[in-house]
Each structure stands twice: as structure tokens, then as C-alpha cells.
Symmetry: C2
Subunit: 412 residues, 2 copies
């Protein structure tokens, strides 16, 4: 008897009819003889509705109380699904964060899981129950309710799968798997059957929103096999996310991502001496702005240009900080560009095959796309280009690496 | 420094604006130097909304899961009020049933409080907090969420006031106190300044809906002084509910109540022998129908008539049962009347003053109202009359016992 953890997102449980459909899907898995732990998100729109209530009462709602408030969204979903499964004749119990217990730190709104007690869930399963778990929530050492951050019902599911050593953690969402690129931009994008944790991490970090980043990290650490599936289509298909294996290396590039919400800041004539980077990026980090790529040109005559990217919504604040630092560090000036996009190719095949980056640059050059910045990791190459070329670049790279006949290692 | 427990009902926290007003009211009491425990109900309409969601998923929603579901209503209210009080600069913590802990039995939907731990609430108060408590909920021995029955946020407030030995338990509602009669029927009804627990119990039992019956019983048992106040008017006024004292005995009648949803069944020619009442009322009780008044006429020639009242909505079911029993017990027949009303006068003064019932009968006779049944307790006289005379009877009795110049013991 296999133990399966299933997770259904907000759209999947977004209405009474959808909850009924989820119950049917749960029971199809049950009929195969599986033991089931089902993690649910709040009904679509509910978490936002609750946050908005709080915002009408306070400009900065107290974090502890906000968690008490918004955690009710998942509590309602869990109870409703359990009520439905009971109505269909199946012993079911819902369990909340404080019952499970999912122990976290006290960082309300973005709590980290410290431990998951599995006794109550094991007892409930042993008694023949389907267990429905309210996602996104835990309790701290004082038994105060905490939440794990937006989208963190995935994290609840992976944590439970890890602790229970589940055979699989199935993430049901509104798409039927992980795609080689965003199908809304790349019509030729296709669903991946398999992808490694590392590739999925890069893709999640680069804005592919199918899985929450922290959940993939946790799955990788505890070797939890993830399956991304659609809750609106039948069970076939889906994308399996797991350990990298030999066969994966034959695929040079697994996906292409595009982030269109970037902006670029350049400090010119920066003195090339130790400590200056900290003077620039320390104050930016203090305000919570995430700096993504940082490029420092080779130094000539002791002075250099330093370029970095920040989300476009943070550009104005970042510029204010940088302009304050310019005089202090004796730099020549500040330039910025708010219309840039980041295009990335990802694939574990890059670890063992040289020349992928060169091919990427050739493809972009052939399209007349100028590359403004480059950053690479072991399994990823990202370039920053003018925003107006973003979608063109993505499609060209997808066709080159992932089009018909492409993407086998022997194309090298 | 006095400790006050305040309770706000669903209408009082029914909107963002109302929650803001409740926060102001809490802080006015705080400004007087009081320590405050504030119990809240779900926002008006929310509990019904949640029940309706469950009913769309199951004809008979699982009781444990329904409690998980509907308890979120009070959780939301508690968090929102705490967020508002924090926003106004006051240290506040919300506490839920599982945090407090309010220990109950496992009778989901109508759980009974077994114990209330006060350590966490005392610590929170000692640390300078206003404590906001989600009403209506508790946890059983398994830490499963239970609810205490409709209207039971009053019960939460009284239980906390009892355990904390609070100076007062203030019940804020949409009326400004307990009235001598329903003002919609008796224009001359007036607010009572004081009323005894026993009188309040009779009035609650007879359909005055200001306070929940079980809450009054609990308050009486633990000598918790209750104050009924309006959350829409200023703090003056209100009705104090407490121990009976000498001065109360001078008031013959404190209130007049009218129950217009009664019906009457008469079994004629019942043999006057032991055990027959059980044969009649046993099967009725088994179906959950509440029989209120039972009258058995004096026996003549070994046969008697037996008359009793049931809620009008249960008349049809009760008649079916009774007709089944008639032949079995050898009674002559069954009559029924579905348009009857019960009018009652209540007052602790009756304990020490004779003749109140006689005055009541005289008043009704003067109005030409025929009395069909009579039942009395130590502090109450109830009569059943034709429903069309119900309001007339109530007004006549109110004027006689509670009108200007009436109702002093010396009118006897």
C-alpha cells in the first residue's frame, strides 16, 4: 500500500463544484489502494479577501494576528473537503497546523518549518482515514498560529511527504505540468515528462510559477519525488521532478524562461578597491530590495563600471539609495534602464557539455538581439536584453534548443 | 484595577466599521483602568454562510468537520478586532479555543464546557495585553475543535468571567437591555435596570432572546454579574442581571412574555391509571419534540382528558405519534388546535406575595380572553389562550402589572 501526498491549490478548490471534483480525484487514487494525505490551499480569492479585511483596519496589520486571520482560509477548505469525503462514505479527518503539529519559528507570515510531528497523522491513517491537511500553516513554540508565506501549501505537502516517506508528492494545479517555456509566449513549448530538482529550482527561481521555490529545495534535500499534475485534466501526463540521472544529461536544455520585470542600474567610474561593493549593496539589501545579477567590468586605470539588476518595481527606491552613495564613494555617475528583460536557458546537460552558452549567443546574434549582461551557473545561462526583444529571444532560443530535432546532446 | 469581560455579538462586529466602533468602546473601558477580556462572535451572516457551504457538500455534514469549518467565523472576528486594537497602539493578543484552552466534551455542535484553563489568559493580561477571545469554540480531549451551540459566545464570556472572577460580564448586543415585554408588541414596555438570574432564566426560556439560556444558568451558578448593553448606544443604561435581593421582592412582576408558536393536543377519555403518561410522551420525546405544558384534568369515572402543547412546527409529527397510541391505550379520541399562544408573567415577588395569578386571571377575564390552560412555577404564571388574543393579553397584563402606578407590592 503506497502512501501518496496530494496537494490541491486555490483554483482547484475554488468552488463547491471544484471541491466535489477534488473529492472524486482523491477517491480514484484511494481506489488504487493508496493511503492518502491531502493538503489543500484556501479557496481561490479567499486569502486576498482576508488580507484586505485586515488592511481596512490597519496600515500595517499585526503579523501574529494576520496569521490567525488568513490561516482560516485553509481551515475552511480542509473542513469542506473532509465533509465531502465523509458524505461519499469515506472515513476522513481534517488536521490543522496546531493539531499535526507543524512546528515553526515565530516569523509570522514567512515562518520556517522546524519539525513535523507525524504521530497523529500516522494514527489517523492506520485507523483507515483519508487525512486532509490545511496547508500553509503551522504553530510556533507558544502554540501561536504561523503561516509559511504565499504559495507555501506546496511546502506543507513536501514536508509531510518527507516526514512520512511518501512514495510521491503530487502537486495538482491549473496547468498539467512543467513546460519547456511559457506556452503563452512560446506556442511550441511542450510539457516535460521529467526534470531534475536542480533544473526545477532554476526555473522556479527564474519565474516559472508552477512550483514554489522553497518546496523544490525541500524536496531535493529529502529526495521527495514530486509530480506536477493538472486538477482539471485526467491523471495522465504531468511532470515528474526528481533526482538527476544519466539520461537527463543527454538533454542540453530543459527550459527557457523570461523575466520581463527587470531594470538595470550602472555606476560608472567606480574606484576598483576592496569594500566598495559592500558600500553599494549593503544599503540596498537593508531595504529588502533583491539584487539579481551583478556585473563588474574588467578594471582599466583603477576604475570600473558596475552594473546590476533589480525588479522594476524597486527601481526608484534603488536609484535613490545609489545616488546617495555615488558621491560618498567617488564614482563618476549613475545610469539606469527600466526596460530590460532576462532570458535564461536551463539544463543539467550543461554540466557535461561545453558550448551551450556560445550557441545561445550565436542564436541571439542571428536575431539581431544585443546582449547587455551575462550571468552563468553550472546549469543555467542568463542574459539581459532590451525588454522589447525579450519574447523574440525566448522564442528563438526555444526553437534552437528545444524545437523539433534540436536539444539532443549530439547536436553539439 | 477591575477585570471586565465584554462580549460582542455578530451584529456588533458585522462590518469593518462596526469592528472599529467596538475597538473604540473597548478602549473607553480600558481608559477607566480596567483589564479587559473581549469575547467576539462571528461577523453577522458568516456562520450561516459557512453552514450553507457544508450543506452543499453533504446532506448531513460530518459534525467534527462542521465544527472545524464554522469555528473560523469567530477566529476571523477575533483576529480583526485584535488587528484594530494593535493599530490604535494597544498591546493585544487573540486567543482561540485551543489556545485558552476551553476544554469541552466531544459533542460536536453542542459541546459542554468541562474546564477552562486560565494560565495563558492571566499571563497575557499581566503582560499588559487586551485579550480578545474567539467565542463559541473549545477543544475536546483530542485537541479537536468543538463548538458550543448557536448563540454560545455568551457562554464563552460567562465561563471566562467565572474562571477569572471578573467584576462584570458585559454582553453587548443590538438592544440596550432586558425589557418588561417585547417593545414591538407592547409600546409601553420599558427597560429593566435590574433583574434576578431566576427571572432572566424564565424569560430566556419563554422566548426573550436577549441572553442565551445556558449562559444565564452558568452565570447564576458562579455568581457572575451580567450586564446587557447596546453596542450601538452609549454606555449608560443597560440591564444588570444578578443575585436576587430583598428589594426585588417588592416588584411583583418583572416581565411579560408571549410565545405565539404553540399548538395544543388533547387526548380525551384516557383511562386514569399509572404508566399511561409514559406511553404517550415517551414516543414523542424519542423524536426530539419538546412538550411544554401538560395538563391532566381531575379524573371523573376513572377517565380523564390530557392536554399538552408542542411547538406548532412539530404539531403534525406529534399528532401522528399520538394517533398511533390512542387505540393502544384505549383513549376515546384526539383533538388539536394549532392556533394557540402562551402568555406568561414572571417575577420573584410572586414567591412572597399571594394573589398574582388571581389578578392575572381577572385581567384576562376583563378583556374577554378565555384561558385554555394554566401552568405555574414559583416565579411564573403561564396561560395558553387562542392565538388571536395573544398580543391583546400581553398588553393588558403589561399595563396591569407594569403600567404606570402598577407593579409595586402594595398594589396587592
Amino acid at each position: 500500500m503506497a502512501l501518496i501526498v496530494q496537494k490541491y491549490g486555490g483554483t482547484s478548490v475554488g468552488s463547491i463544484e471544484r471541491i466535489k471534483a477534488v473529492a472524486e480525484r482523491v477517491l480514484r487514487s484511494r481506489a488504487k489502494g493508496n493511503q492518502l494525505v491531502v493538503v489543500v490551499s484556501a479557496m481561490a480569492g479567499e486569502t486576498n479577501r482576508l488580507f484586505q479585511l485586515a488592511e481596512q483596519l490597519s496600515e500595517a496589520p499585526n503579523a501574529r494576528e494576520t496569521d490567525v486571520l488568513v490561516s482560516t482560509g485553509e481551515q475552511v477548505s480542509a473542513a469542506l473537503l473532509a465533509i465531502r469525503l465523509q458524505a461519499l462514505g469515506y472515513s476522513t479527518v481534517s488536521l490543522l497546523g496546531h493539531q499535526l503539529k507543524i512546528r515553526t519559528d515565530s516569523c509570522h507570515g514567512a515562518a520556517k518549518i522546524k519539525a513535523v510531528e507525524s504521530e497523529r497523522i500516522r494514527d489517523a491513517l492506520a485507523a483507515g482515514n483519508i487525512v486532509v491537511v490545511a496547508g500553509y500553516q503551522g504553530v510556533d513554540g507558544e502554540d501561536d498560529i504561523t503561516t509559511l508565506g504565499r504559495g507555501a501549501s506546496d511546502l506543507t505537502a513536501v514536508a509531510l511527504a518527507a516526514v512520512m516517506k511518501a512514495s510521491a508528492c503530487e502537486i495538482y494545479t491549473d496547468v498539467d505540468g512543467v513546460y519547456t517555456a511559457d506556452p503563452r509566449i512560446c506556442p511550441r513549448a511542450r510539457r516535460l515528462d521529467r526534470i531534475s530538482y536542480d533544473e526545477m529550482l532554476e526555473m522556479a527561481g527564474l519565474g516559472a510559477k508552477v512550483l514554489q521555490l522553497r518546496s523544490v529545495e525541500l524536496a531535493r534535500r529529502f529526495h521527495v519525488p514530486l509530480v506536477v499534475l493538472s486538477s482539471f485534466a485526467d491523471e495522465s501526463g504531468g511532470t515528474w521532478v526528481g533526482q538527476e540521472d544519466k539520461s537527463m544529461e543527454n538533454v542540453l536544455v530543459s527550459g527557457v524562461t523570461l523575466d520581463q520585470n527587470q531594470s538595470k542600474i550602472t555606476l560608472t567610474g567606480v574606484e576598483d578597491r576592496p569594500g566598495l561593493a559592500a558600500r553599494i549593496f549593503g544599503p540596498i539589501a537593508d531595504t529588502g530590495i533583491v539584487v539579481d545579477m551583478i556585473i563588474q567590468n574588467a578594471s582599466a586605470d583603477g576604475r570600473t563600471d558596475m552594473t546590476f539588476t533589480v525588479p522594476r518595481t524597486d527601481l526608484r527606491r534603488a536609484l535613490e539609495i545609489v545616488r546617495g552613495v555615488v558621491a560618498e564613494i567617488g564614482a563618476a555617475g549613475v545610469r539606469h534602464e527600466d526596460q530590460v528583460a532576462k532570458v535564461s536557458i536551463i539544463g543539467v546537460g550543461m554540466r557535461t557539455h561545453a558550448g551551450v552558452a556560445a550557441t545561445m549567443f550565436k542564436v541571439l546574434a542571428a536575431e539581431g538581439v544585443n546582449i547587455e549582461m551575462i550571468a552563468t551557473s553550472e546549469i543555467k545561462v542568463s542574459v539581459v536584453v532590451n525588454a522589447k526583444y525579450g519574447e523574440l529571444a525566448m522564442r528563438a532560443l526555444h526553437d534552437a534548443f528545444l524545437g523539433l530535432g534540436a536539444n539532443a546532446a549530439e547536436t553539439e
